[in-house]
Amino acid sequence: MAEIVTLAEAVTELVNDGDQVALEGFTHLIPVAAGHEIIRRGRRDLTLVRMTPDIVYDQMIGAGCARKLVFSWGGNPGVGSLHRFRDAVQNAWPAPLELEEHSHAGMANRYVAGASGLPFAVMRGYTGTDLPSVTTTIKPITCPFTGERLTAVPAINPDVTVIHAQRADRAGNVQMWGLVGVQKEAVLAAGRSIVTVEEVTDELAPVPGQVVLPSWAVTAVAEVAGGAHPSYAQGYSDRDNTYYQEWDAISRDRATFENWLTEAVLA
């Protein structure tokens, strides 16, 4: 059964140096506040996993939390590049960043395998691309019935997965709706999970398109209203498109970024 705790308690207890950590949320419901808490707690040597490392991972990489990134698309959606991510890859600043690079389909299937208790998933993908030559976690597999050649990718089983959702009830059952991405799979694939929510309510009135994660499948729930900003929580907030554009300027320069980090996160 999920415990309802503060975000600081959840991160302190459940995210350790060296962990493989997945923060998921596909444009919608990105757990940004939790990412900032991981920065504040000074976690290091993390293997960060995320299909779409965007602003929050740019921040965590720039803050020096990450040793490795497992991902499929690292950009500032609708704006351009991630400058802290680029600086880490191109100049090893603030630290070298190892990459394990997949496609969205590959990452999604790796989470599915992880959630399913399987060591790998089968897909049609990567064929003819240069990705298998740089990513060792892409291998061929042969159908035992037809002899057809397909692609296998290994399960992702993060030590801890962090997501943001609209609501939880007091028993720790979690409810989200709108674009639900790969969050269910990421939580079920993980050893531990933290869910920040817009609000904890007495009842979870059913909502069309909802995904419910039962309390017994979640480790910790923390109420963090606005915890997805500048991303959004459908029914609670809108995407702050201006912030995404502003991030381009903040992140382009190391000093500007470090000022932002001090003032906006660490202060």
Binding site: W73, G78, Q90, A105, N109, G128, D130, G178, L179
Partner: protein, 265 residues
């Protein structure tokens, strides 16, 4: 041909970027389904749905099937997509149940680099993979969109930097090293059948699968296109000229993007 002017009789003045979006939108047939990549393709697809293709089904990798946004989504995961979709599904489902089996008619992609066989690079430019000169965002949904859709349209701003003889990294396969390569690789879709740039329109040669210039936009010369191409460009025996954007197309496009310099999606 009127040199570099983009004002043609009976049509409003437009930018090269607007011509590209309009030409890309026109490529989409009504009643088909389109898997919409991030960036320029989203602008074009939404423009098509506002114009000649009201029954175009837009599929976004964020899980929105049949999205009908009334404003241009700034990202492929905007709330307007889920709110207006026929169905919203998880990301694994959109790739496994909807894209992978080849249900989608057109995959609409952009590129940082594109080569003569329509292969796409969105990973690294220059140096090598471990020490690139420029680190790009990476693959996203593109490799499997390029593999599995029945055909692929690519929209890209053309220059010698983006139109190269051979991409530095094959992120998504077009026609590989030439005709027959997709079949040899077992890729189910037909691959890129049209490339739309701010200068013209290209289609693969049926014999070689190499991109051939078939159409220039109003005010663009074949020589200009050659100069913006990083290989010895093949040109069709009869090069057509794209019909300039109509006033209606431009109005719809500017309503979507917020003006000639608006967001590209």
């Amino acid at each position: 041909m009127t040199g570099t002017s983009v004002e043609t009789s009976g049509h409003a003045a437009h930018t090269a970027s607007e011509m590209m979006s309009v030409a890309a939108a026109r490529a989409l047939r009504d009643g088909t389904s389109c898997f919409v990549g991030i960036g320029l393709p989203s602008t074009a697809a939404n423009l098509a749905r506002r114009g000649h293709a009201p029954n175009l089904t837009l599929i976004y990798e964020s899980g929105a099937l049949g999205a009908k946004p009334d404003s241009l989504p700034l990202s492929i995961g905007d709330g307007i997509l889920a709110e207006t979709a026929d169905a919203v599904v998880g990301v694994p489902e959109v790739f496994n149940y909807w894209l992978q089996p080849g249900r989608i008619d057109v995959g609409f992609l952009s590129a940082a680099q594109l080569d003569r066989f329509g292969n796409i690079n969105t990973t690294v430019i220059g140096g090598d993979y471990a020490n690139p000169r420029v680190r790009l965002p990476g693959a996203g949904g593109a490799p499997e969109i390029a593999a599995s859709c029945r055909e692929v349209f690519i929209v890209v701003k053309q220059s010698r930097r983006s139109f190269v003889d051979k991409v530095d990294f094959v992120t998504s396969v077009g026609h590989g090293s030439g005709a027959g390569d997709r079949a040899r690789l077992g890729l189910p879709g037909a691959g890129p059948t049209m490339v739309i740039t701010d200068l013209g329109v290209f289609r693969p040669d049926p014999g070689t699968a190499e991109l051939v210039l078939e159409q220039v936009h109003p005010g663009v010369t074949v020589q200009q296109v050659r100069e913006a191409t990083g290989w010895e460009l093949a040109v069709a025996s009869e090069v057509g000229t794209t019909t300039a954007p109509t006033a209606g197309e431009l109005t719809a496009l500017r309503a979507l993007t917020g003006g000639p310099d608006g967001n590209d999606g």
